[in-house]
């Protein structure tokens, strides 16, 4: 024998665990400990039959802790105190008396906790947690109905097994329906609760400010920045444009907005269409493969130097882009040359001299650019992320002393030399490279791929992309994906899952729904088959319809008229004479005798007269039977 309460207790523990587990890392220390202790204590309580907490104490503790966290709620910080309160209440409930109300509260709190976790983290695992919780709660609710009637009720092992099976079958049966609703239900374009979640503090590789020499070490974090659904591209084209930095500010480069000539939309060959799924922490700039042609599917503002800023919320989004691969942005109407020639206040004499030397080597901007590139190649700079120059003039040190640095050094020194030589140029911040996932067909760009390069303005051509880092002697390996070992492959698989989750669930929206319906509609309309095949299709549809309808038909429509008559007779009898019991072993005449009404008697006689003579009722008999059925309605 298994006691209902035991099973219910186990389920309650499981439910609270499932509810809190995904939220656990976001909790304060106090609720973390309180929950763990409460869970263990609840198990002990049950095992040893200890008295549960009751009376005023838990209530008082709840109120005090509630107030403690409630005062910390502010407009910026709603979620953290709220989840802490939630989990503490859950912990107290776990220790409380085992009455149906408390069980229900545990279930509800666990459900809240799980949904709160989705505000922090939208990962596919959430779905698993949700399904597990759903199953457990459904089973518990069924058990609870038994528990409410008699709290000491015990069932045989077999009976319990059957009960739980039935209870679990219900949500399992609802699962296809949930999936169906997922496809057809309308939903907002962004997570409703998103405004509650604090803007993700980011340690992104893409910064607002490029300041070489500010630190000696660059931390390489392999967190995803974006995933771009795309065909596979040559590696040298994988420049993901983020922002443009055009103004010197002491040792750093920052971004200043300015109005200048419109860029000219590229067209023709070399266009790549991509769908980009940025991660939550991707910041306000919309990353797009260089050079951008078009961006759609998101509210954004575009500046004249082709930097796209998102205008709305910070939730999980997706957008479609078109890029041209020629690395050039054509400009109509020219640029503000003076602006793009501004230099930092302090430039060392050596740098100044080098710049002037470069300027002297060429007659125009293009020749000077070539000269500088030639110089960079010949100087044999090394690409490194360690032991970076940190002196007062890192550019000078990089160019003439250390001759080693990362992209920021390369790009800023290249830029300074260009500007010294009188060639208008600017820095572009973004990412370079990407791991192509063949399975799902997308590029994964991670934070450690952050990169800075230079755009040079050439009269008559436009802004031309130049990556000075590529001139380093050992650049070939930089930004390259790691070896394709098992772990890397597994990471790819798990990343594909994440990707599909984003596509199918997170960024699934009304737009996509409409597209599905439209494409289904179009597919139907444009369906053209060879003439001879039409009958085949019709046949298949008919078959499918038959299969779908069959169980219903077998249950109802397959019945003969007299069977339907009999069913309605039984229904009416059950309604009119609730005191008369009937089982499958009760004969019709027997029933009529029990009811003792002439109309019922006659109905039974006529009916039996046909059934047990192995013949169908005649038309007259059917008419009479129907008449009698009606008259049964009027019986009192």
């Amino acid at each position: 024998m298994v006691r209902i309460k035991t099973v219910l207790d186990i389920l309650a523990g499981l439910i609270s665990l499932i509810g809190v587990a995904p939220l656990f890392v976001y909790l304060d220390r106090l609720p973390q400990i309180a929950f763990a202790v409460a869970l263990v204590a609840a198990i002990f309580q049950e095992r040893k039959g200890l008295r549960p907490l009751r009376g005023m104490l838990p209530t008082v503790v709840s109120i005090v802790l509630f107030l403690f966290y409630a005062v910390r709620i502010s407009r910026e910080n709603i979620l953290d105190p709220a989840i802490n309160i939630l989990v503490i209440l859950l912990a107290i409930r776990l220790l409380g008396e085992r009455i149906p109300r408390n069980y229900l509260q545990v279930f509800a709190l666990a459900l809240f906790a799980l949904s709160a976790s989705s505000l922090y983290n939208l990962s596919p695992v959430f779905l698993l947690y949700l399904l597990a919780l759903l199953l457990c709660i459904a089973a518990s609710l069924v058990l609870l109905t038994f528990f409410t009637v008699d709290s000491r009720l015990a069932l045989s092992r077999k009976g319990m097994k059957r009960l739980v099976t039935v209870a679990v079958a219900m949500p399992a049966a609802a699962l296809p329906l949930i999936l169906l609703f997922f496809v057809i239900m309308p939903r907002p374009q962004f997570p409703l609760w998103d405004f509650l979640a604090p803007a993700a503090e980011k340690q992104t590789g893409l910064s607002e400010k490029i300041e070489p020499g500010s630190s000696s070490l660059v931390r390489e974090v392999k967190t995803a920045v974006l995933r771009a659904q795309s065909r596979k591209l040559p590696r040298q084209d994988l420049y993901w444009r983020g922002t443009v930095l055009n103004t010197p500010e002491r040792n750093a480069w920052i971004r200043t907005k300015l109005d200048e000539g419109d860029y000219v939309r590229s067209d023709g060959a070399g266009l790549v269409e991509q769908t980009i799924f940025p991660e939550l922490n991707a910041g306000k700039y919309l990353i797009i493969l260089d050079s951008p042609v078009k961006i759609s599917g998101i509210r954004s503002s575009q500046s004249s130097d082709l930097v796209f800023t998102r205008r709305s919320h910070t939730g999980r989004v997706r957008y479609d882009t078109v890029s041209s691969l020629n690395g050039t942005i054509r400009v109509s109407g020219g640029i503000n040359r003076a602006f793009y020639l501004k230099l930092p206040d302090r430039i060392s004499a050596r740098v100044q001299a080098l710049g002037e030397k470069i300027a002297a080597r060429g007659k125009n901007d293009r020749e000077r650019l070539d000269a500088l590139e030639a110089y960079f190649s010949s100087a044999r700079y090394r690409y490194t992320s360690r032991d970076l120059p940190r002196s007062g003039d890192p550019i000078d040190e990089f160019l003439f002393v250390g001759k080693a640095g990362h992209c920021e050094f390369f790009a800023s020194s290249f830029l300074i030399l260009l500007r010294t030589a009188g060639v208008p140029a600017r820095l572009v911040g973004g990412y370079y490279g990407g791991e192509y996932n063949e399975m799902a067909g997308y590029y994964l760009v991670t934070e450690d791929m952050a990169h800075v390069w230079v755009e040079v303005y050439l009269e008559g051509v436009g802004w031309v992309r130049r990556d000075p880092s590529a001139l380093a002697v050992d650049f070939a390996g930089a930004g390259e994906a790691g070896a394709d070992d098992i772990i890397a492959r597994m990471r790819k698989v798990s990343d594909s899952l994440s990707y599909y989750w984003n596509i199918a669930v997170i960024t699934y929206d009304l737009d996509k729904q409409l597209r599905i319906f439209n494409s289904a509609n179009n597919a139907m309309r444009n369906l053209s088959l060879p003439v001879g095949k039409w009958w085949l299709l019709t046949l298949m549809f008919a078959l499918a319809a038959l299969v779908a309808v069959f169980p219903v038909a077998a249950g109802r429509w397959g019945q003969s008229p007299e069977q339907r008559l009999l069913r309605s007779f039984y229904r009416k009898i059950a309604k009119k004479f609730p005191a008369v019991t009937r089982s499958a072993a009760t004969g019709l005449m027997e029933l009529a005798e029990r009811i003792d009404q002439p109309a019922v008697q006659e109905f039974a006689e006529i009916f039996c007269g046909s059934v047990y003579r192995d013949r169908r009722p005649s038309a007259r008999e059917m008419a009479r039977l129907r008449e009698l059925l009606k008259s049964i309605d009027n019986l009192s």
Binding site: E562, A584, A585, G587, M589, C608, V611, R613
Partner: protein, 313 residues
């Protein structure tokens, strides 16, 4: 729709139960069913409840010849069948018919007879003829045996083996009459004398005609056959039952159901007919497992019956 001689048969039952055998409607009806199907009936009850009265009244009203056997342990087969006696004058053996050569035979306390006598009796019942010294004598038709036995008394009895029980179409108790009726019976005293002077209400020809009607005019649907088979099969598969109802039991059940339908005035059998006769026809044929011998066979069979769905469509 009219069934031959049904009114007469119902009239007999009416007269008997309203005047002479008050409170014994069920027993009378079952006897009538046995008569109409050509089977025999075993009345199992304590003495003094009117078993003999029932038999006497039936024979009187039905206009049938009546014979009676009081079984004792020294009763010989020849006491039943009769025997040949040498006729001095003619110098030949003449056969003197025993009490079995009657339309209605009352075998009182059948379990007191020796097994040898019992089996001779039962064989005659089944075969409807008697062979004595090489000559076969047919028994009169209709031929109805009403056997009685006292289930309580055990000393000096030879209980009928199950195989013999199977030969009775029906086993039934009479039971005590309802209180009011019993009081009236006590007040009125014994009615044996009145029964002696009963005038026959029907003739033997009528009974034979009614039998033919039951046999030929009552329609037995395949659904009912299925139903009976389901019942029979259920008794065979029941965990408490060692040996269920035999095929002969199934045949008898269908015949009895037909007779019941006839008495109800229907020319077709409905499941209720089967249910009405199932227990008296079936219960005594069951052999229960040793550990369940204390169970009442009728209750057990009733329980089996309750779980069988009637065929309705």
């Amino acid at each position: 729709m009219s069934l031959a001689k049904r009114d007469e048969m119902l009239h007999v039952i009416d007269i008997l139960t309203s005047r002479y055998l008050r409170g014994k409607v069920r027993a009378v009806k079952l006897s009538m069913i046995a008569l109409l199907t050509g089977g025999h009936i075993l009345l199992e009850d304590i003495p003094g409840l009117g078993k003999t009265t029932l038999a006497l009244a039936l024979s009187g009203v039905l206009g049938m010849s009546f014979g009676r056997l009081q079984c004792t342990s020294d009763l010989l087969p020849s006491d039943i069948t009769g025997l040949s006696i040498f006729n001095r004058e003619q110098g030949t053996f003449t056969f003197l018919r025993g009490p079995i050569f009657n339309n209605l035979l009352l075998v009182d306390e059948i379990n007191r007879a020796m097994p040898k006598t019992q089996s001779a009796m039962l064989e005659a019942m089944e075969e409807r003829r008697v062979t004595v010294e090489g000559v076969t004598y047919p028994l009169p038709a209709p031929f109805l045996v009403i056997a009685t036995q006292n289930p309580v008394e055990q000393v000096g009895t030879y209980p009928l083996p199950e195989s013999q029980m199977d030969r009775f179409l029906i086993r039934a108790g009479i039971g005590y009459p309802p209180d009011e009726i019993e009081k009236a019976i006590i007040k009125g005293g014994s009615i044996r004398d009145e029964i002696q002077n009963l005038t026959p209400l029907v003739q033997i020809e009528d009974i034979l005609e009614a039998r033919a009607a039951v046999k030929e005019k009552i329609y037995l649907s395949d659904k009912i056959v299925d139903y009976i088979f389901t019942i029979v099969a259920a008794t065979r598969n029941h965990p408490f039952i060692l040996s269920g109802i035999s095929t002969r039991g199934g045949i008898n059940m269908a015949e009895a159901a037909k007779a019941h339908a006839y008495l109800e005035g229907r020319d077709f059998v409905i499941p209720e007919d089967v249910k009405a006769v199932a227990v008296p026809v079936g219960a005594h044929r069951l052999i229960v497992t040793p550990e369940n011998e204390a169970l009442d066979k009728e209750d057990l069979f009733q329980a089996v019956l309750k779980n069988i769905d009637i065929p309705i469509v």
